[in-house]
Amino acid sequence: MEIDALRQRLKEIVGEDYVLSSSVDLMLYGYDAYLEMSRPDVVVIPENTEQVSQIVRLACEEGIPVTARGSATSLSGGPVPLKGGIVIHFSRMNRILEIDTVNKRARVEPGVITLDLQTAVAKKGLQYAPDPASQKTSTMGGNVGENSGGPHCLKYGVTTNHTMGLKIVLYDGEVVDTGGKAPDRPGYDLTGLLVGSEGTLGIVTEITVRLIEQPEAIKTLLGIFETIEDASNTVSAIIAEGIVPATLEMMDRLVIKAVEESVHAGYPQDAEAVLIIELDGLKDGMERISDRIIKICLANKVREVKVAKDEAERNTLWTGRRGAFGAVSRLRPNYMVCDGTVPRTKLPEVLRKVTEIGREYNLPIGNVFHAGDGNLHPLILFDCRDEEETARVREAGTKILRLCVDAGGTISGEHGIGLEKLHEMSFIFSQDDIAAMWKLKNAFDPVGGFNPGKVLPPLAS
C-alpha cells in the first residue's frame, strides 16, 4: 500500500487530526530516553480499543510494523520504531475507567500516567504499589510493557505482581481479555506473559490492577556512609535479619553531588554513599524495627542516620532520588544506565569492579540503585556527540552487564531489553532458550508486525 493511501485509511479510523506524518512529527516519534533513534512512517493517536483494533488489522493486512508508545521515558529503546511503520501513541487513551474500592481493583487505559492513578486511589485510602522513578510522567501501558519496578518493589513486587488482567489487541486486530478483577484465573497466564513483553506480543488497551491499603505509618531514614562497602554491607545485614523495608535505595558520591546541585535534597556532599531506608506498615512495632535498623547501620560504621521528620522532609529525600538520572546530566549531557541485577551479597564486589571498569575506560560512573533488590543502575556519563567516547560507553556497558551475569545476576532488573541489550541476551540464554521464546513470539505474532527488532535477538542460522 502506498504511504499516502495508508495515511488516508488511518485518518478514516481515528480522524484527520490524529494522524501525523510531517517530517517533524516523524522525527519526534523516533526516540525514547535511550540513544538510538529511528523514524516511523506514520503516527496515530487513537481514542479507544476499537480504533486500535482497526489500526492493527490494517497493519496486519498490509504487512506494516506497529509500535506502541506511551510517554517514551523508556531507557532501552522500547518504543523506537526500528523498522518504521505505524507508531500508536496512547496519549488520548488516558482515562481511569473504574476504581473499585471494595474489591480493591482499578481499571485504566494504557495512557494513564502512573502518578495520576496513584493520586486518584490515594484519595480513597488505597495505593497502587509500583513506583518507577519516572512515575510522574510514565504511563501504565509503558509500565506493563516494561514490567516496571521502582524503589518500593523490594517489598511489594513489580508491575506483574499487581496486574490482574489485560485487554489486548492481537496481531490480526482481534480483541481478547486475559483476566479481570478475580484472582487466580485458570488457564494459561496470558496476563503474566504479556507484562514485560515490550509490545512484541500484543497491544494492551486496558489494564486491571490490584490496589492495596495505604500503610498506616511510614518512616523514612537516611543512612550516611563513609564507604560504599559499609552501605552495601548494611543492606545485606538488614535483609539477613529478616527485615523487609519498603525500600532500600543507594546513591554514591557522584550522584549525591549531582542531585544536591539540582534539588537540594539534603544529602551530605562529602559522603561516599547514602541509603534511603523506608519502612511502612502498622504503627505498632515500627519504632522497634527502626531501632533495629539503626543498630545495624551503626554496626556497619554508619556516620549518621537522619530520620525524616515529616511528609515534606520525606518528599524532599524522594525528589532527590527520583531525579537522580536527570540530575547527572548536569555533569555530562548523556548517561547510559546499566540495569543489571546481582545477588545482594555480591554488591560490594560488583560495585568495586564497576569502578574499575570506569577507570579502565576513562569514564565517570555514578551509582544510584535499588540496593535491596541487588538491582544496580551504574550511570555511565558521556557526551553522545563524541563518537569515540560513545563507543567506549557501549563497550563498558556490555562489560558491566557481563560482570553482573558472572556474579550470578542478570542483564535487566526493570528497564527491559528493547534494542539496547539484544546482544547481551546471549549472556543468560542459550540459543535453544531463545528459540523457545521465538516460538512463543511467532505464535502470538505470526506476521512479525509487533515492535520488530526488540527483545529477542535473531537466531544464528
Binding site: V24, G326, S329, D383
Partner: protein, 382 residues
C-alpha cells in the same frame, strides 16, 4: 539568527536534554494537544535536530515552535534545568530569518514600528484610561519630574477590559502620597511581543527610546503592573533604575501602614503569572497584600508558585493558535473553580484578559480581578 549562531548559542543547552520526559506533565500545550510536537522534550529535539542538520529550518517547524507559551514550567520540572523557553525563542528567530514564521508577526512588527503600541491606536491615546479616574487630578499624572515612573504597558493602556487596572493603581499611589508620573504618549511598547515573535533585534529602538524617556524624568524607580514589561526591562534593558512590580510596591505600602484597608468578605485564590512568579521570582508579595486585607480568605490553587500553570495567554500563542490558547484557559478556569473560591486574583492584565474572555465565552460565572483592583475595592469600603 542563523543556524551557525543557533549552534553557538544553544547547542550546549539543548545537549543537556536527555529526553527523560519529566517535562511532559508540566506542559500546558501537551495537556491539550496530546502529541510530541507539543512537548518541551519535542521542542528541544527539534532544536537539536536543526543544529545537527537532521531537520530543515522550514515552515514545518513553525507549528511546534510557535505554540510554546514560554511559561517556563518545563524548566522547573527538569533536573538539568534545560531552558526550553530560550531555545524556542532562538528557534523563532531562526524561522523569522528564513521567512518561515507566521505572517501575523510581520504585521505586528510593522504596527509596532508605526504606532509604538500593539493595538495600532494613536500612541497619544495611551492615557485614555484616565477617564476611569475619579479623584486624581489629571495634571498629577503627567509631570516632567517624579521619583517614580509608572510604566503602564500596552494592554492596560488600550484594552478597555484592562483599563481599570492603571486607574486603580494610580489612585492608590496618589492617596498614598507617592510622587509618580506616567510617560503618556512617550511610553512605547517595551518590546516583549517581539521577543515571542522571534524578532529580538527589533526591540533595540523601543528600548533605547524608553530608557531615554525614563532618564529624562529623573526617576529613581520604575513600577510596572504588567509582569511581562517588567520582565523585559529586567532582562533586556540595561538601566540602573530600581524596577518594581505593582505588587511589590503595594506590599511596601501595606508594611508602612500607608493603606487604610477595610474588610472584604471574600474567598479568593491567586494565580501566579508566569512572568511575575516563575520567571521573575515574585511569589510572596502579592500574597502578603491579599492576606493583609481583613476578612479575606486565600486558598491556593493546586498548582501554585513555581508550579503555576500558564493561563494560555503567554508566548504570543493566542495570535497563532487561538483554539489552543482558549483550551488552556479553560483548564485554568477548571483549576480555579476546583478551589471553591468565588474570585481569582492575579497580578497580570494579560492573564486576567485570557481567563475572563474564556469564562465569558463559556458562560462560566467567575469573578476575576487584578491585585490593584482588589486593594482599591478594600480601600473604597465604607
Amino acid at each position: 539568527m542563523n543556524i551557525v549562531q543557533l549552534k553557538k548559542l544553544q547547542y550546549e543547552e539543548v545537549a543537556k536534554c536527555t529526553r527523560c520526559g519529566f517535562c511532559l506533565p508540566n506542559c500546558p500545550t501537551y495537556a491539550v494537544r496530546r502529541n510530541e510536537a507539543s512537548t518541551p522534550r519535542g521542542r528541544n529535539a527539534i532544536t537539536r535536530a536543526v543544529i545537527e542538520g537532521r531537520l530543515e529550518l522550514s515552515a514545518d517547524l513553525a507549528e511546534a515552535i510557535f505554540t510554546c507559551l514560554g511559561c517556563g514550567a518545563c524548566t522547573k520540572a527538569c533536573f538539568p534545568a534545560v531552558n526550553t523557553k530560550d531555545l524556542v525563542f532562538s528557534d523563532r528567530s531562526c524561522l523569522t530569518e528564513v521567512h518561515a514564521n507566521p505572517k501575523i508577526f510581520e504585521k505586528l512588527s510593522e504596527a509596532l514600528n508605526e504606532y509604538h503600541n500593539i493595538s495600532e491606536d494613536d500612541n497619544e491615546d495611551r492615557a485614555e484610561w484616565q477617564e476611569y479616574l475619579k479623584d486624581v487630578p489629571g495634571e498629577f499624572l503627567e509631570k516632567d519630574h517624579a521619583d517614580i515612573v509608572y510604566f503602564v504597558g500596552c494592554v492596560a493602556s488600550f484594552f478597555p477590559m484592562a483599563q481599570k487596572i492603571p486607574a486603580d493603581f494610580a489612585t492608590i499611589m496618589y492617596h498614598a502620597g507617592l510622587d509618580f508620573t506616567i510617560l503618556g504618549g512617550d511610553e512605547w511598547c517595551c518590546g516583549f511581543p517581539l521577543i515571542g515573535a522571534g524578532m529580538p533585534e527589533k526591540v533595540t529602538e523601543l528600548k533605547n527610546h524608553n530608557v531615554e524617556k525614563l532618564k529624562s524624568v529623573g526617576a529613581k524607580k520604575a513600577v510596572f503592573s504588567c509582569p511581562s514589561c517588567l520582565h523585559t526591562w529586567k532582562h533586556l534593558y540595561d538601566t540602573d533604575i530600581e524596577l518594581l512590580h505593582a505588587s511589590q510596591l503595594l506590599r511596601d505600602l501595606v508594611s508602612q501602614n500607608k493603606l487604610d484597608l477595610k474588610p472584604l468578605e471574600l474567598k479568593v485564590t491567586y494565580h501566579d503569572p508566569c512572568d511575575l512568579g516563575r520567571n521573575t521570582g515574585v511569589f510572596e508579595e502579592p500574597r502578603e497584600v491579599i492576606k493583609s486585607i481583613p476578612g479575606i480568605e486565600l486558598v491556593e490553587l493546586p498548582n501554585n508558585r513555581n508550579m503555576s500553570v500558564c493561563c494560555g495567554g503567554g508566548g504570543n500563542v493566542e495570535m497563532v493558535a487561538p483554539d489552543l490558547s482558549a483550551a488552556i484557559a479553560q483548564r485554568k478556569i477548571e483549576e480555579i473553580l476546583s478551589t471553591g473560591a468565588n474570585t481569582v486574583i492575579s497580578s497580570c492584565q494579560q492573564c486576567l484578559r485570557t481567563i475572563v474572555t474564556s469564562a465569558r465565552r463559556q458562560n462560566i460565572e467567575l469573578n476575576a480581578m487584578d491585585l490593584t483592583q482588589l486593594v482599591m475595592k478594600s480601600l473604597s469600603q465604607k
